[in-house]
């Protein structure tokens, strides 16, 4: 096998194109013929596309695994771990206690409750539209004053899988979560 470059009129499409450039654009080429001469470029773009997808998948899995394992603690669990959590950021779920909501200059104050545990919350920023008494919420923030208060900067309202029912039923969802934790 010789490694010498091909110089004659072979049926290698690239060499024949190079030697007869005047023929190149005159005859109509079909998609398949064009792709055979530009095949390697298209292939690299496609392979790079697959690479980008793989990198994106890795990014999503990394992000997801970091926060999805324990997306939130319920109030009672968070209170039980006050010393370990200290001032680190985490998410806490509970129901807004009726009658505890007061608007402040920079946001809203309320009490969040789950089972027997409750924690006063100072939230900075506008609460979402559906925020209100008895609504189950997930807060993002950290404990302050040795776990006696929770400083929140993001309120997310949870909605359950029931539609057109009353608020009282929503405690059920919180109970389901507790069961999940007990079995998982």
């Amino acid at each position: 096998m010789s490694d010498a470059p091909l110089t004659g009129p072979h049926d290698d499409p690239e060499s024949s194109d190079a030697e007869t450039p005047e023929h190149f654009d005159l005859t109509p080429r079909t998609a398949a013929a064009t792709s055979s001469s530009k095949g390697s470029g298209k292939k690299w773009i496609a392979v790079a596309g697959v690479g980008v997808v793989v990198v994106a998948l890795a990014f999503v899995l990394f992000n997801g695994l970091q926060s999805a394992s324990t997306f939130f603690y319920n109030v009672d669990e968070a209170v039980a771990q006050t010393s370990t959590l200290d001032t680190t950021r985490f998410r806490m779920q509970g129901n807004v206690v009726a009658g505890s909501v007061t608007t402040t200059s920079d946001g809203v104050d309320f009490v969040i409750k789950y089972k027997d545990a409750q924690v006063p919350v100072h939230h900075v920023g506008d609460p979402p539209e559906m925020f209100g008494p008895k609504i189950p919420v997930v807060l993002e923030g950290a404990f302050a004053a040795n776990g006696k208060k929770f400083e929140s900067d993001e309120i997310m309202v949870r909605h359950d899988s029931t539609y057109d029912e009353k608020n009282e039923d929503r405690v059920r969802e919180a109970d389901q979560d507790a069961k999940q934790r007990a079995t998982g």
Partner: protein, 256 residues
């Protein structure tokens, strides 16, 4: 096979004129039924059904959200079946069916993510959080974009079909994980309302609109799949005739 190639590739390999449309009587009937269904869904979803006690008007987004995600799941399952059948039978039909279905699935899954994010912003207060359902959803979406990317890597039809069949079979494993994510882990997303529950917690015209949406989107999926499959089939024939043309052309050049 010495058929001369036409520049536009509209003749088939056998020299008989290829169909100029992907429509047939059946698809026209199906398309008309889908259009009527969409009109009905708009009437029931937007005007007739009452707003939800808690969600208000945003429940109407869910009349799109559940159907789009259901069609996407179905499309990916069809891709998996097509992939398995391809590996067994090695026929073009199963490969093209798998690919056509995956493409439609990606479109509907993208729509699901978009309308879900809109709903999430209004209800939860955030567009996105890396919570279990949303994270697994992102993984599923990227996996099928990966399937389409693998399909775009130039290769012989047989190699491409085999690669895609393997990806199509592996990717479908994620669907039950996405579906059960709301039960297995804690997150922001609500639990299932319709699938996998014996007593759906939605009644009256709300339930009617939800099930109507499912039916209409299934019709839409069938209609799109038939057309997409036929387009894929014609594209294969065009590529073949293009290849034959290129070979004939090169032979001519070499003979000069």
């Amino acid at each position: 096979m010495t058929t001369s190639a036409s520049a536009t590739g509209t003749t088939s390999g056998a020299g008989t004129p290829a169909p100029t449309s992907t429509a047939s009587t059946a698809t026209r009937v199906l398309g008309a039924a889908t259009l009527v269904g969409i009109a009905l869904l708009v009437v029931f979803g937007v005007f007739v059904s009452p707003p939800d006690k808690e969600l208000g008007e945003t429940i109407r987004i869910l009349y799109m959200h559940v159907p789009t995600v259901s069609v996407a799941y179905l499309a990916f399952i069809v891709t998996a079946v097509g992939s398995a059948m391809y590996l067994w039978k090695r026929t073009e039909f199963w490969d093209l069916l798998a690919a056509s279905s995956a493409e439609i699935g990606v479109v509907f899954f993208g729509l699901t993510i978009l309308n879900g994010m809109l709903w999430g912003k209004i209800t939860w207060g955030v567009f996105w959080r890396w919570e279990p359902r949303l994270t697994t959803t992102a993984v599923l979406f990227l996996t099928y974009i990966g399937y389409l990317a693998v399909r775009a890597v130039p290769a012989s039809p047989r190699t491409r079909a085999t690669r895609c069949a393997v990806v199509g079979l592996l990717a479908v494993v994620n669907i039950p994980i996405v579906h059960k994510a709301v039960d297995w882990w804690r997150g922001l997303h609500q639990e299932r309302t319709i699938f996998g529950t014996l007593k759906p917690e939605i009644q009256g015209t709300q339930a009617f609109a939800a099930y109507l949406g499912l039916g209409v989107f299934l019709l839409l999926f069938a209609w799109l799949l038939i057309h997409r499959f036929r387009v894929a089939f014609l594209a294969e024939r065009a590529a073949e005739s293009g290849l034959e043309g290129a070979i004939a052309e090169r032979r001519q050049e070499a003979g000069q």
